[in-house]
Symmetry: C2
Subunit: 340 residues, 2 copies
DNA sequence: TTTTAGCACTCACTCATTTGCAGTGCTAGT
DNA sequence: ACTAGCACTGCAAATGAGTGAGTGCTAAAA
């Protein structure tokens, strides 16, 4: 079992290392603990045996291991509230009612990136339970239509429809009318099945060339849920961290950031703010990802901060929690869904 | 004046340096020119005096200066056609008629990035002479509307309208009707002035609370032209180039890439493929930007390749020319604007 | 007049060596 | 349970010698 002085020691080492980025030695801690370096060394040795500390080489000071950070985050970190300064900066954004939720989120993450020098990511999409509000079809020429879908939260998506043969305009408008009649209020992820099982049987009675028309519309309307926004902020920021001091480190992390599957690795299903350290980050052993899911105002997604393992954990976690709360509160308030 | 052997020499040096990335010395060129190293050295000295060559240090081989590259591109480079292999890769994309123009361009640039290891950028927006085809307004709740604008090329943009006071639905639909009647066929960059000078005087007679409604619509419709897509491909690619071998170089170029005004620096007004070398690139003294404007199928913008100054100029220039041609040819063919 | 051979010189790079420093583990004594 | 002291370790920064690829210049050859 880990003793209380050892806990204090671990905390001190994590915090010192976060601040200075250099291995911390026993002498430096003497004053803080009012004991000799030898005592500290003994405790350090214990903590190392427990797997919470590491040495960079045999005669170096200690740095926290992944487990050390983990223990720190789970047990040692004081959940002290977000600092006044930090909060102020974020507040001004949420007080600006002009901003759309989405823009407010990106602005906030820009600020977080700026003040922390880490990289932030927002990954968002329409909530899959948004309801379809209207389908609009606009002809461009005899073979091309634009289908526009509007959801109850005001999100708009559009798609090209290419018709394989000429279809009289009247057929198109009949179809559109039918779709509107039957689909309004349908959650967008249920649209495809509703098309298939409810609309298809009906459309054949209404519309002459129903095969062609149905297929075209099915293609257009069934892929709407998938579009995801991704926005990185401050990719270059993280390079300021001293852990990325060699060319290879830098190149490595940059290409990780650019890689195709980065997005899928960021996505988070958990509602809490979660911390993934080093090898658990799925991105790179040298980084920590702090992230959480959010859901508000018809949008959902993940916000994430990527920094070095040697990260200001409390600060980042608190900021993210604060941000998430505001997104979700603000989301409600801003929807104007004054259901009366 | 520069002699013909000196021209050959400059060409040889540029091409050798492009290949190897090391300063080229006099001995290496002896065989090619069937003369002794001393002769070469004399000519090199002349070229250096003319400002076409540089030394990295007093006893090093020569590398081309910015002016050297410039001279090479303008006078020495053989405009040899794009290589069969390169062309083949690009062709398969343009033969795939499934792809939308925009996607075809990005795919092409991905390929160019891949085979050259440079970074490519596409910067696109709707052509400002696209004509407005339809305005659609969908109410979300009593204070919020979505305005949707469709152009004759099938491009769709939408915008939130927040009303400052409750407006009866009938007023909205009257306005929408009016807008459609008067704006269809108007080039989108003329919409704001038409709103101001033709529509505003009329709307006041039709609509009760015309100030509020007009302002809301004016805001929504007057900013449509500005949206620009930007897509970088292979940001990490350029880091493979040996010029970016120190941490600082890498960090430096990455933050240039991430900076806000990058986009405005890429934009090109010229219809030709232009080459901006080093300090002329506006991005970084160590890079060359090859770029051109394109305009097709209702879209316009810039495509650019960013590589080291030590770039395979002919190859890149030819690929970009080829791409531009195809974009513009394909654009016409694909619009389905079968004006009959 | 142009080209070449020869020579002295320069500078970047590599490699090995040295030295100092910050830190450790261990032991014996408080 | 803590501390002082000591021997030891390995990194980091500094130093220095040797090598090789290159230059400019001069004087002679073509």
């Amino acid at each position: 079992m880990i003793g209380t002085r050892q806990k204090d020691l671990l905390r001190e080492i994590v915090e010192e290392y976060v601040k200075t980025a250099r291995p911390v030695g026993s002498k430096a801690l003497c004053k803080k603990f009012k004991c000799s370096s030898a005592t500290i060394r003994n405790d350090m040795a214990t903590l190392e045996n427990l797997g919470y500390l590491e040495k960079t080489h045999i005669s170096s000071g200690r740095i926290p291991s992944e487990e050390g950070y983990r223990y720190y985050v789970d047990n040692l970190m004081e959940p002290k509230k977000i600092s006044g300064e930090d909060m102020l900066k974020l507040q001004t954004i949420f007080n600006n009612k002009e901003l759309e939720l989405n823009d407010a989120i990106s602005k906030s993450l820009e600020i977080i990136s700026d003040i922390t020098n880490y990289t932030s990511v927002i990954l968002g999409k329409e909530s899959s339970d948004n309801k379809l509000q209207k389908v609009e079809v606009v002809p461009i020429n005899s073979r091309q239509l634009i289908a526009i879908v509007i959801t109850d939260t005001g999100h708009v998506e559009n798609k090209n429809i290419i018709l394989e043969e000429n279809i009289p305009a009247i057929e198109i408008s009949k179809t559109t009318e039918l779709l509107n009649k039957m689909l309004i209020g349908t959650p967008i992820d249920e649209v495809p099945s509703k098309l298939e099982f409810e609309i298809k049987p009906i459309i054949r009675n209404y519309v002459e060339n129903y095969e062609v028309v149905y297929n075209a519309f099915y293609n257009a309307l069934s892929n709407f849920t998938s579009e995801r926004d991704v926005k990185f902020t401050g990719k270059a920021n993280i390079l300021k961290q001293p852990e990325f001091s060699t060319v290879d480190d830098v190149k490595n992390i940059i290409s990780k950031f650019e890689s195709k599957d980065m997005v899928s690795k960021i996505e988070e299903d958990d509602d809490e703010v979660k911390v993934y350290i080093g090898s658990k980050s799925e991105i790179d052993d040298n980084v920590t990802v702090v992230k959480t899911k959010y859901k508000a105002h018809g949008r959902e997604g993940t916000i994430a901060i990527i920094g070095p393992k040697r990260m200001e954990y409390e600060r980042v976690i608190n900021m993210l929690e604060y941000l998430k709360e505001h997104i979700e509160a603000d989301g409600k308030e801003n929807t104007h869904e004054e259901k009366e």
